[in-house]
Symmetry: C2
Subunit: 417 residues, 2 copies
Amino acid sequence: MLNAFYAQSGGVTAVINASAAGVIETARAHRGRIGKVYAGRNGIIGALTEDLIDTSKEPARAIAQLRYTPAGAFGSCRYKLKSLEQSRAQYERLIEVFRAHDIGYFFYNGGNDSADTCLKVSQIAEKLGYPLCAVHVPKTVDNDLAVTDNCPGFGSVAKYVAVSMREAAFDVASMAKTSTKVFVMEVMGRHAGWITAAVGMAEDAATPIPLVLLFPEVAFDEARFLAAVDERTKRFGYCCVGVSEGLKDAAGKLMAEAGTRDAFGHAQLGGVGPLIASLVKDKLGYKYHWAVADYLQRAARHVASRTDVEQSYAVGKAAVEYALAGKNAVMAAITRVSDRPYRWKITAAPLEKVANVEKMLPADFIAKDGYGITGKARAYLAPLIRGEDPPPFRDGLPQYVRLKNVPVRKKLAPFEA
Amino acid sequence: MLNAFYAQSGGVTAVINASAAGVIETARAHRGRIGKVYAGRNGIIGALTEDLIDTSKEPARAIAQLRYTPAGAFGSCRYKLKSLEQSRAQYERLIEVFRAHDIGYFFYNGGNDSADTCLKVSQIAEKLGYPLCAVHVPKTVDNDLAVTDNCPGFGSVAKYVAVSMREAAFDVASMAKTSTKVFVMEVMGRHAGWITAAVGMAEDAATPIPLVLLFPEVAFDEARFLAAVDERTKRFGYCCVGVSEGLKDAAGKLMAEAGTRDAFGHAQLGGVGPLIASLVKDKLGYKYHWAVADYLQRAARHVASRTDVEQSYAVGKAAVEYALAGKNAVMAAITRVSDRPYRWKITAAPLEKVANVEKMLPADFIAKDGYGITGKARAYLAPLIRGEDPPPFRDGLPQYVRLKNVPVRKKLAPFEA
């Protein structure tokens, strides 16, 4: 009976462990067909260095707790395997480790890079005649994976930024008469404006908020931006700005980078959020506040989207089922069946269609003036932030699990990853 | 039958509207003895400019919704009345407005400054022979009011920063092998380190986290700080830093100010959070991330402390009861009866003992090395963050109320506030 290998890759999310729970619980439900699930300690590095975690040592309760524990329970890593030619030794080492530990199933939980790695691992296995089923489990707060309706992890960040901006807007509105008039919140999403778009969900017909969104897809135009902020501030008394960390100027240069060095080449502090805020102060004279939630937004399991949690678990579960059905080099993708009510199912997408493709925010999701979202964007985003699934709290704090992460005894000689 | 005046002052909180609900609902319950509750639009400025809001126009349901709506529903302001001599015209104007609208009860919801104003208003009323009962309703996330066990608004910020740091710590721990090793979160509390101390609640015996806290009470010592971060990072693989916006150097100068100007006097961006993070990078070479939650922390009604919500409501309710009992120039203070179980009651504290007194973090709340909290601090903080009281969510977002805020017809000539 073959064992499975599972690893987490890249930036973690509030719900990637729900996918882990989906993988492990489903594998346990098929005990007759899958042996143990080994997890890579710190992602794929754990496989390369034969640093495997024996998840069978964790009680069922701990695995169930993963469903509501943020971040990567086995550790993640930023480590990109290159082409088969460039990283041949690494790919061969992976197969060597899999062979040594009777691993027949490879579940890789990550974004674009890991989809690519997953595909390449399946190819090298075939080339070397090693029988392996490689299935990709999608994850990325950036929501930029192709084929899948959305990426597990995104819905919870989307909910976090929408909730946070709504709450901050109530605050600013209270203070605007004599104090802060403009509030700037920087959000993640360096290449695609999905998270920026989600800030737009802070407002709706019942709760209008004067918002200006700065998408990475829309070149920053200082004069137009300042005019937009000024107009809203004069009309409503205050204005809220959601800005992507990936905002670029007309030359395509990251604003955050432009702002991080002064004329003398000295590194300056702060990201694009404080930069935009200080621009508002300097040019319009409005008192401002700014926030950069950074990791808080992607770790905020306490306010995760229930839809996101359910889908994260579902892609993990489906990945195991696909592997058992012999599907190789596929990703467990979310397919939207309908918007209202939101219906979805999990389907197997060929990894060739996913690897190295970035799904950008469609142009018709961005309002004509470039500073807001359209009804189409709302229809897409609305179901993804819906529903709450709070973790258990004790003494006022969420109770997250830490696994024992018992190592598997090594069988091979060391390898320099 | 006399009317009441209620106003919100200074920085708003996640629960100040719960105090407003306590005032208005209790006044409504004594309809035979109190007429209408008028609210100041944008705080005390509303009284000075005779811009009053008739809260009797709001249905009971809207007032009940205030209990779970963050920020100041009637608007707040940063406007400090000075001494009776310096601001005589303003104080007299207040009485003139109260007289014009048959106001016999003055409820002022704020921090130190507003406690002082409340006291002075009661004094000028007496001097002018105007019958007025002035009661202060405490509010401040800074938790620096004297007499009261804690300040409504603080418990929810405390919970927010503890939850956020716990979640971020799980994230950093996952990434530390190949990426971010040090995470820095800047928190509010310019003068006293209460909120910084609350960051320490992120960790406990079941969830240890390598934390370094930078209190405004402890002069920043760069070498010692870097050694502390380095030691934790080497031992645990990562380190989390909670830093007060009010951190000062040995000369008593705010670090944030020191960091906001370069050698040429140019304003630089960012607060003390990014400053500390960049120090870690420059001197220790660790990859870092930083967050500045800013308004998000004090507006985060979605993760408010139930204890805080209950106490906020209770001080509003008690204020009205005190006024009806003829108690003048008092604050509705929270008195701790016991730690475990946490028992508390509301008592009337003379405003002379509250006004202009700052309650600093006791020295024995700070660990010997200056970078953590003691058991005594934990015993104090634990009950304040306890319990959840989430607002209702619809379509994935909290549903907060916006009042109609119908103005009261003016009776006086304009006044320049």
